[in-house]
């Protein structure tokens, strides 16, 4: 399997996997076995463990039975049976509503939305039913066992409806959590935490990395805490914040900036709601500059929330305006995808990342 993977998957140097980064997550100690896995295999492993450790957990969605269109659910139906791993008809609203009901009875419902672009029919269920269940019932009921997994983000040729990053819509909803992993090892730990977290979680998986990202993933059951950001690259001149596949792009920008003598601190937010304000604040107070990057369109993107919060907390320490290198304010285009995307060149040429002597403070 490893040789097959190395033949077919272009290995990406994942942020945090080399370059002597400080790991704050609870990862494997030297004695545990690790295996080279890509993102969909890591997620698959997490699902196997989740179903194994809790007999009242279920995985369902469109086409999950045969393994799913991205292979994330391979082997689950065979191992745990069709009563626990099953296909649903094509009806996102129905699927999520059904998951909320199942979770309300104390079960762990792991719902797969085939592609995040299709999540909108279920938006009402997530926002109005799932997020507010515990609150409006005075804690009598809750759907904490609900986890919604959806592949998100650009894939190179996805066009309008296979490339969207809808995380900002969900970050605006108190009552749910939004989690986005950056790599296979992170994905497994974060997914297990999300499934076991007693709150409904929306888990976005960067589909570009399903096959492209390969990493050593511990084989045992481990969890990575939610709402804890990680500094995956230490620096002193500027803080960069991102999540998911975008971190790979940002790390390239960091390497380019190093050549010009700019020391970059790169932070993986991991959980967007509720997000780790303290880590980002501490970093910006140290560096004095912040650059946020995400694939979603810039206006109203989650970068705006981070920018506003940091401005409130770090105003006197900031040496330059917070900059955001994001997708353009257009529907996700088909032929124009390369222009739309927040590439490393856009990040590198943004005023914050150019040499400090050139930066103008307005």
């Amino acid at each position: 399997m490893a040789s097959l993977l190395s033949r077919f998957c272009r290995k990406l140097a994942l942020p945090g996997s080399a370059h002597g980064s400080r790991m704050t997550s609870t990862t494997a100690c030297g004695s545990e076995t690790v295996k080279s896995l890509n993102l969909y295999s890591a997620i698959n492993q997490a699902l196997h463990i989740a179903l194994e450790t809790d007999p009242r957990s279920y995985v369902f969605g469109e086409d999950v039975g045969f393994g799913g269109v991205f292979r994330c659910t391979t082997g689950l139906a065979e191992r745990f049976g069709k009563n626990r791993v099953f296909n649903t008809p094509l009806c996102e609203q129905g699927i999520v509503g059904f998951g909320i009901g199942l979770a309300a009875m104390g079960n762990r419902a792991v719902v797969e939305i085939q592609v995040a672009d299709y999540i909108y029919p279920a938006f009402d269920q997530i926002v109005n039913e799932a997020a507010k269940f515990r609150y409006r019932s005075g804690n009598q009921f809750n759907c904490g066992g609900l986890t919604i997994r959806a592949p998100y983000g650009a894939v190179g040729h996805g066009g309008h409806y296979h490339s969207q990053s809808p995380e900002a819509f969900f970050c605006h909803v108190p009552g749910i959590k939004v989690v986005i992993p950056r790599s296979p090892r992170e994905a497994k730990g974060l997914l297990l935490s999300s499934i076991r977290d007693p709150n409904p979680v929306v888990f976005f998986e960067p589909k570009w990395l399903y096959r492209q990202a390969v990493e050593e993933v511990p084989e045992h059951d481990y969890m990575i805490p939610l709402s804890q950001a990680e500094i995956i690259r230490e620096g002193s001149d500027i803080t960069l914040v991102g999540w998911g596949a975008q971190l790979t792009v940002m790390e390239q920008a960091c390497l380019d900036a190093e050549k010009e003598g700019i020391s970059c601190e790169l932070i993986d937010l991991k959980t967007l709601l509720p997000w780790d304000k303290e880590t980002v604040e501490a970093s910006v107070k140290k560096t004095g500059r912040l650059l946020i990057s995400h694939e979603a369109p810039i206006t109203g993107g989650f970068g705006a929330e981070i920018s506003a919060t940091i401005l409130e907390r770090c105003f006197l320490k900031l040496e330059a305006p917070v900059s955001r290198v994001c997708g353009l304010d257009t529907p996700f285009p088909l032929v124009f995808e390369p222009f739309y995307m927040p590439t490393k060149n856009k990040a590198s040429s943004s005023s914050s990342l150019s040499s400090p002597s050139k930066t103008h403070i307005f």
């Binding site: 086409d63 094509l90 206006t299 257009t330 088909l334 222009f339 943004s350």
Partner: protein, 392 residues
């Protein structure tokens, strides 16, 4: 069966009069003398009396059916090759096998009747009068495409033919179609809207919302379920409690039609249009089949056997059915039809070649048509300082 009787009669006629039959045969493609043909199967209906199996057609119509379906078939096959050559990117959902639905529908309606469908829309576009060059250009993302290269395979539109496209999200076009019907009724246009969706989409909640609205307000909406029996890779019996999609309307009448028989489709659509104009919505379930997989990323053989696919191709292929009818009615010879297919192939190849030469849209088109010119916002790029573009 009517078909076999006719074919045996004509072979005995042809033999002794080999040369004179050339003179006696009706002139190809212009004869409109009515011919009556029976549909392959009787219609099954729900809450309504079905139309008659006897369909009126003509030599001209049958030949145009043949040519147009052959054109559609060729276009889809050419699209297959272009996708494999990476000239078409994104996604590509092919319609070959289902041509009779598009063709039969067009024969029964006018360009003032609206059609709205899902992402499997290339042939529907052609049926509405769309050109091959616009189609291939759009597939390859060129400016000369019907949506200026910005839509791609799933988003073909043609305003002057009331073709409302081309929708990526499954089932989302259903309430839209009912909205179109409402507008037509309000303007007293004596036109109807055909809303096409698949067996997979039939399980979306919005379908039922659309049905209820259409029935409540007596909208001239014809909801057409193109049942090709597979929602991506899921067979209908695995996703639907009741795969009798024509009955799903409950209080809305329905008709089940052999979607591989262009004449049956024509009869059903004609019937449906008359019904919708007078009585409100009706569901048509077209029993059809797609030879390709769901899209070009799907081989189409992991959830169904190759025998099943070739079986349908041998017994129910829509183009072969019309071919046999044409030969049986002595409208054209096998050779003439083959020549027509060759001609069609050349036409498709020429359109592909021309489309390949077409330019890609200008980068500024990335920002155009998001809002109406002058009413939008500035679009920001990387840092709110670079790539500032005012939306045209």
């Amino acid at each position: 069966m009517a078909l076999s009787r006719l074919s045996s009669r004509s072979t005995t006629l042809l033999q002794p009069f080999a040369t004179t039959s050339l003179l006696r045969r009706r002139h190809i493609s212009t004869d409109t003398t009515p011919i009556t043909v029976e549909t392959s199967l009787p219609f099954t209906s729900h809450l309504i009396s079905p139309p008659s199996r006897a369909v009126e057609t003509s030599s001209q119509e049958l030949l145009s059916f043949f040519r147009d379906m052959a054109l559609m078939r060729r276009m889809e096959i050419a699209a297959d090759s272009l996708y494999k050559a990476k000239l078409i990117r994104g996604f590509c959902h092919l319609y070959d096998g289902q041509e009779a639905v598009a063709i039969g529908m067009e024969a029964a309606i006018t360009k003032r009747d609206a059609i709205i469908t899902s992402y499997r829309d290339h042939c529907t576009f052609l049926g509405r009068g769309g050109g091959l060059f616009e189609a291939f250009s759009e597939l390859m993302g060129r400016t000369t495409g019907c949506s200026k290269g910005k839509g791609g395979s799933m988003h073909f539109y043609k305003k002057d033919a009331s073709f409302y496209g081309g929708h990526g999200i499954v089932g989302a076009q259903a309430p839209l179609g009912c909205g179109l019907a409402f507008a037509q009724k309000y303007s007293k246009e004596e036109a109807v809207s055909f809303t096409l969706y698949g067996d997979g989409a039939a399980n979306q909640g919005q379908l039922f919302e659309a049905l209820n609205i259409a029935a409540l307000w007596d909208l001239p909406a014809v909801l057409v379920c193109e049942n090709n029996h597979y929602g991506m890779g899921t067979a209908e019996w695995r996703s639907a409690k009741s795969p009798a999609y024509f009955k799903r309307g409950d209080y809305v009448p329905g008709l089940k039609v052999d979607g591989m028989d262009a004449l049956a489709v024509k009869q059903a659509c004609k019937f449906a249009k008359e019904h919708a104009l007078k009585n409100g919505p009706i569901i048509l379930e077209m029993d059809t089949y797609r030879y390709h997989g769901h899209s070009m990323s799907d081989p189409g053989s992991t959830y169904r056997t190759r025998d099943e696919i070739s079986g349908v191709r041998q017994v129910r292929d829509p183009i072969d059915r019309v071919r046999k009818l044409i030969i049986a009615h002595d409208i054209a010879t096998e050779k003439e039809l083959k020549d027509m297919e060759k001609e069609v192939r050349k036409e498709v190849d020429a359109a592909v070649a021309q489309a390949k030469e077409s330019p890609i849209p200008e980068p500024s088109e990335l920002f155009s048509n998001i809002y109406v010119k002058g009413f939008g916002a500035e679009s920001f790029g990387a840092d709110r300082k670079e790539l500032r573009a005012t939306l045209p």
